[in-house]
Amino acid sequence: MSHHPKGKLRTDLNPSRLLTFKIDDRDVSAREDESILEVARQNGIAIPTLCHLDGLSERGACRLCIVEVRGVAKLLPSCVTFPRQDMEVITNSERVVNYRKKILELLFTERNHVCSVCVSNGHCELQNLSVELGVTHVRYNYLYPEHAVDASHSRFSVDHNRCVLCLRCVRVCDEIEGAHTWDIMGRGITSKVITDLNQPWGTAETCTGCGKCVQVCPTGALSEKGKSVAEMIKRRQFLPYLQMMRGRQEESWQK
């Protein structure tokens, strides 16, 4: 169960109103403020996601969770789309499945993913997605950009070669830890996550060293120093809990 600060975000959605609709021809019921993704997962219907993480605000940016809605021409990201009475959602049409694969392949081309030597090998959401979606190779040309590793922090390091720009680190640090050490700079293909004013992480004064960003990072981009590959498992149980306890209802869904 998640505790998104949605009430505040979507003043138009009323949590006490209930409705029924269909996902993949199954009848399901939902609160008006529950996303299609949430309802699908409650019902054991799997939709792949990357930028979404229970406990963080939504971005709707990776586009892996797109679904079709009967009668709607556009594909809709299920993490930020809310059901309507009698809506018919299709999560697994050939069309969306193919698009998801292609988007994932694009992500693999964007940076330098060398799984065999990566700290997250075996515990990586990107890798898992490739298995889930049946991506056995990448049809597009790899871009081989130049990216650095910043190991200046005493306990953590960031390897931009593995970053997928999901901005989970930015959101957790801002919304949960309240430090806002991470942010994003540049645009388009040159976007990059940065700490404080684009300075080495080790010199970022706002960082409390809590390690939350490392735990939420889906890939090998953020890792703990001194851990072996086998140990580099991310622990995220704290997220919904903290979100609930602090009741921090801040927006930043639109980052």
Partner: protein, 181 residues
């Protein structure tokens, strides 16, 4: 039943995928009456045969020689399998892609040479195969029929692949191996 002709070969790879192939252990025996190895580093043939029913290609395409070889291999192969991460994604050989070829050679053959090489290293560069600017996956050059990712691909996945091919099916490798496996 006639045996199928299996060729294996490596381009820019570390031979790890071939080691994994050898790790089939008793699987190799099971395959022995159905498969004839017609070419490869594991056997003693010098030239690639006119035709191989199935070819496993390990390694990325890194040099001008690799480029020439892979075209030849494709032309003479029935089913071409991209065998392992280096062939599928360029993997480790691709890690040099962010640097200019000259810098890579300099680092490999001059700075890291033991004892350190005197001079510019020009002489050494002459004898190294001419490197392309990037090491790239096999399927960027030729059509690939089956992808077998993994570094190296697990023996079970290789066995499954061959079993399927023997049964006349194009194997669906989803869920049996992955990048970095």
């Amino acid at each position: 039943m006639a045996k199928i002709g299996l060729a294996t070969t490596w381009l820019d790879g570390c031979s790890g995928c071939h080691m994994s192939f050898l790790d089939l252990d008793e699987g190799l025996i099971a395959l022995a009456d159905k498969v004839e190895i017609v070419y490869g580093p594991l056997v003693d043939y010098k030239t690639f045969p006119e035709h191989a029913d199935v070819t496993l290609v390990e390694g990325a395409v890194s040099s001008e020689a690799d480029k020439k070889n892979i075209l030849n291999i494709r032309a003479r192969s029935g089913v071409l399998v991209s065998f392992g991460d280096c062939a599928v994604t360029a993997n480790v050989p691709g890690m040099r892609n962010r640097y200019p070829v000259e810098a890579v050679l300099q680092r490999g053959y001059v700075e890291n040479a033991e004892p350190p090489l005197a001079g510019s290293g020009e002489a050494a560069f002459q004898v190294v195969p001419q490197l392309c600017p990037h090491a790239r996956p096999v399927h960027e050059f030729v059509h690939v029929d089956v992808f077998l990712p993994g570094c190296p691909p697990p023996p079970e996945a290789i066995f499954y692949l061959l079993q399927e091919l023997l049964a006349g099916r194009i194997p669906d490798m989803r869920g049996r191996t992955r990048f970095g496996a």
